[in-house]
Subunit: 80 residues, 4 copies
DNA sequence: TCAGATAAAATCGCGC
DNA sequence: GCGCGATTTTATCTGA
């Protein structure tokens, strides 16, 4: 940034957009907590649930990374 | 937890609710990043923006806590 | 911490141990950078190398998490 | 990179060197954590310790940079 | 109170 | 050489 003519009103708009989004994010975090609490109340083990979710996420990420490396390999072959 | 009669189909439903919420959360995180990127493109300094947001959040929390303590005082007065 | 009689010389010793370890860590980080640079000079694609390393690390972590969740399941069964 | 004649065995050697170094790095990270834990057990505040370490690092960097600029000045003088 | 999960900040390497 | 994106590191927060 090198100009001091930046529009402060514009900055304020950016800040408020971010703050609104952060509030939404916090609400979702709370929702997640509630679902865990509800599951726990139904008799499920939260720790196990977290592990399952973690493993499922790792599967997805692994698949994604494998696709990425495949593309990198193909791109490298294209350069041969 | 002491029963193994828990309903696996129900567990699956909980997991999927959580995963959906986590996805929404990630989407919002991305939105926030985008707003920062846009602000940066407009010439604002992201690091400074983060500081401002952090300070504003602290202000809000401080005000909230002050209101809470005021209510506590008022409640205590009511009991006099 | 509630005592002010903490031994400042002892604190200094802790700080120095940490600082020495951090220095060792930095040295290793530099070594890693050098190996990447050497590999790059030999004609390898650093991005692909990083992806391979990342995938291999994910494999190891996945295996570890699977063992952990197995133990959690066994522990849960023990409580039936 | 334009050749596909890269030696795969050589690549493997690079990857293993890096992975070994990363493991050493992780070990040191764990050592650092342990020292912090030990210090905490002795009654020190980890957060404050981190701040002190950070400040000391900044001091060292500042001094280093000042020396660098001094050398630059001296070199410039030598060219007069 | 503590470890473990999550989010934020700093750092680094790559491409233009 | 510099900004951008990815990775790593630090700090905060939550739950046991």
């Amino acid at each position: 940034m090198s100009s001091n003519s930046v529009d402060a009103g514009h900055l304020r708009a950016f800040l408020e957009r971010i703050e609104r989004l952060e509030e939404e994010k916090r609400a979702i975090t709370d929702d997640i907590k509630e679902v865990f609490a509800e599951a726990k109340g139904t008799g499920y083990d939260v720790k196990i649930m977290r592990k399952i979710i973690s493993l499922r996420r790792m599967d997805r990420e692994k698949r994604r990374e494998e696709e990425e490396i495949l593309e990198l390999y193909l791109a490298a072959l294209g350069e041969v």
